[in-house]
Symmetry: C2
Subunit: 588 residues, 2 copies
Amino acid sequence: MLPGESLLDGARRGAIPLASSCGGSGTCLSCMVRIEAGTAPAPSAADRLLFSAKLLADGWRRACQVWPTEGCSVLVPPRSSGAQAVRTLAGGDVRITPDPTVRTWRIRLAGLADDPARGLDDRLFAAINGTGPARCQALDVDALRAAAALAGREPAKLLAALRLGELVNVLPASRRALALAVDLGTTSIGAFLLDLRKGHTAAISQAGITNPQVSLGGDIITRLNLAVREAGRRQDLQRLATGGINRLVAMLCGQLGVPATDICDVVIAGNAAMVHLLLGLPVDGLAHAPFSPALRGAADLRARDLGLAVAPGAGVHLFPGIAGFVGGDHVAALLALETRGLAGSALLLDIGTNTEISLLHAGTILTVSCPSGPALEGGEITWGMQAAAGAIERVALDGGVLELQTIDGAPPEGICGSGVLDIVATLLRGGVINHRGRLQAGHARVRDNGPAREFVLVGEEERDAPAIVFTQGDVRAVQLAKAAIRSGIDMLLQAAGLDEAQLDQVIVAGAFGSYIAIDSAVAIGMLPDLPRERFRQIGDAAGLGARLAALSHPHRARAAGIAREARHVGMAGSAAFQRRFISRINFH
Amino acid sequence: MLPGESLLDGARRGAIPLASSCGGSGTCLSCMVRIEAGTAPAPSAADRLLFSAKLLADGWRRACQVWPTEGCSVLVPPRSSGAQAVRTLAGGDVRITPDPTVRTWRIRLAGLADDPARGLDDRLFAAINGTGPARCQALDVDALRAAAALAGREPAKLLAALRLGELVNVLPASRRALALAVDLGTTSIGAFLLDLRKGHTAAISQAGITNPQVSLGGDIITRLNLAVREAGRRQDLQRLATGGINRLVAMLCGQLGVPATDICDVVIAGNAAMVHLLLGLPVDGLAHAPFSPALRGAADLRARDLGLAVAPGAGVHLFPGIAGFVGGDHVAALLALETRGLAGSALLLDIGTNTEISLLHAGTILTVSCPSGPALEGGEITWGMQAAAGAIERVALDGGVLELQTIDGAPPEGICGSGVLDIVATLLRGGVINHRGRLQAGHARVRDNGPAREFVLVGEEERDAPAIVFTQGDVRAVQLAKAAIRSGIDMLLQAAGLDEAQLDQVIVAGAFGSYIAIDSAVAIGMLPDLPRERFRQIGDAAGLGARLAALSHPHRARAAGIAREARHVGMAGSAAFQRRFISRINFH
């Protein structure tokens, strides 16, 4: 530890992944740890209010509120770890005609004897253009380096990877060229390794991790504000994003036992904020209304431009977005949806800190973005956590008896997004919250903790650690989130002149959306009350879209078409939105 | 100093530029220094043979032969400095139609009010494509970063730099977009700053410096061998090359008081070895027969790929070469020559460690490369040095009286290339060397230094420092060089079926070629004995070619045409070359 440095800052400096939803400002509980050995420094005033005397004596502190002066040993509960493995949902497999942006060709490179005055570049051009339909007009210098490492005086059999007429990588003929598709989310990053010659989107291997940026803030807004305030933090956020993708590359290639330089093309789908932070673009425009991005359309770079640990000449394609807060991840989800043969009028929801909703109707796409806040992902919820082992994901209240279901059946550690939704719906049904969202005194598990009322899910005595509670403030956060989403749906329906009963399908995409109980979402009024068979939860549609674009150039082009055609109908700031929002705050 | 480290290695580590022709192997005199204060370590056995007792006592040593064990103060004579300013010869000014690869357009970027959901990228596309003939299909991410730094909520007047339909840089409208043309030579680097809108090749500012790679070896072969042996040295050589260009950028932009990011395009002409070292390409193929390059054709990169300190999205165009040892610098010189309205049969010579010669005759270009060695540039000549202050450049022998002319009239420090040629011609005319190249005993200034005979140019007593001599070995080096060049000329004439008397012009390009006395070159038989009015010395033609390609896309395309059309007729290794070479060793 450096003098005057908090435990959280020390962990950040040492690249020890520690969650920090609020970015270290001391307003959340996400960085809670237990000092196990060594002298626990005296608790801060804020921590003294937060933890009981027993817990303080046991060493419980928040990492952002501890400034160690000597060495100590710290237990990081799973919930406070910023490096949890997260569940991934592949989002289905689709058959396509193989026609990738990067195509590979087996070539026979002539040896030196032919005409030594010619360069290796001349021999590569001759080998590629001489046989079959491949056409190469340019060589990336890193592809030339790769070829030089493989070519000798004798003829050689090689695999040439061409991106739109430019040689971008060269591999031994025995290998297969790979593509990487990335769903770069605010809370987690999913990555898929694909065989560039295959005609279906099933990944050879896939993995998901927490977005390492959570160590600098759990939600987009915290990170954007940090990036606006300090250029150094913007660089940190960029490094964390590329570091996360590189970690996934190492995991996926390690599983297969192939070098990462076999990856010849990369496609990334992310929201505008994630894309800006990844590219190191200024985010000032995104942090404030009217939320104007520096980059709205697609971008194409080289892997070396971003420091991605794949073939350095590999292309990196970033999905185009529709508007400031309707980014490439939503376009990727729309692209994936088009492969499903939709009929009638359909609603696509991508629920997160910012919720993007599209209405597909009569051949048009209408889109809205709603500032739903991080509550539904477990962020800004006192005991919120990621969808990892120990997260409470289902709740039932049978009379006075509370039943909790956690991920992997592990001891409860916190509450993930689907749990948050379920708790509110359950408490609402049980009358523990009224229609205005007030927690009702009188229930055995409702208590007043100073001025704040809270519902106890797991008592301190039940787990020998701080009690897991759901506070009045948490209920309010969910109310704001559901009101924002439902207002967005209202605006789309109005713009299309539709009634909600006319919706043929309501498709909920994304990891969070796939785990929620639709009944709960309807119960709290977040989704319209339609026959349940009209709802579909399709998993990581953005990831599927990224995979489609990695394997099929026509699909990549279609994504640009979707981004161009979609009409953005509403912004959070508009008066129309505000009116609806207020009318949707209450539970019915 | 690190333990066991020589003074030379210490200087390299500390980035103190010290000449080292032989790369530190102890076979030359280029790193000679004088230890002025502190204890001079005992001289090495090799230095004891080289320096007189008085000079050793005065502290004279070679930096590669001293391993200091304590601090000492060292005088670096100008000749031993690796960072001399060198003479540049602009190579003439040519008027052209302005049609650069990177074109600039004044644009009016809309403010945020128009449609905030659009991105800055959308606004840039609209501003560029909306007015006039400019067409922009893609944005480089660094151009977007530059635009984001200049754009605000209000409309802005900007300068957009487009490279073949892609936005590569954005500047305030008040600035002018610049191009950088570089002649990347083995011994020196020349750089020219150009206004991209101008229709003539005169530079706004220009400068030349010693190629910083001389600290790792004076000639190409030494550096190539170093790069082949040690990957770390290859990286050092790359860093030195980019560092040299960046130093020139800082000098040129400093002179004008403009930021280096105003440079939107870069063109570099260099021989194959320089280009390979700059790009970090493997040089194994170049270091050994049959001298096959990894890259023969042109290359196009981004400035950020090379770490050049200009606009990071700026294009970097490397001239195409003709064959392994006929590189882009010769193509650039040929391009420059075409602007001169040549008629008849002409010979173009680019004299250096490797001498490239082209015969332009009846609409064809025949080219040969000759391994002339570094002697004519002063390398591998015992007292050779760069064309800097104190270099002996002219010699006259009137009876027994020797007259020396040095650059800037400074006290003699060594001999530059033109001096080397002049000395041999003068000694030949005076009968001090016979027609077989042997130094004749009997002349007052000829002495036997152990087994080696030498001609004393400046005695030890005349300068209170080691005597400046021209040795028998130096004469032999010049014989090999002139034989190589003359054999190349012979081969070209034979291939074209021409007699040397039919040559209408003999054009000598390059800094060295511009300073030599044609009479001396003819006297030693390096050049054919033709009427003197047929000879022309045109200065830095490669630099002019680079400037043409920076300002005119058609000229850039023409360079590719020259590289494609030129026929490479001879290699050093061929039997035909060897026969001629032997017949040309003697002086008549």
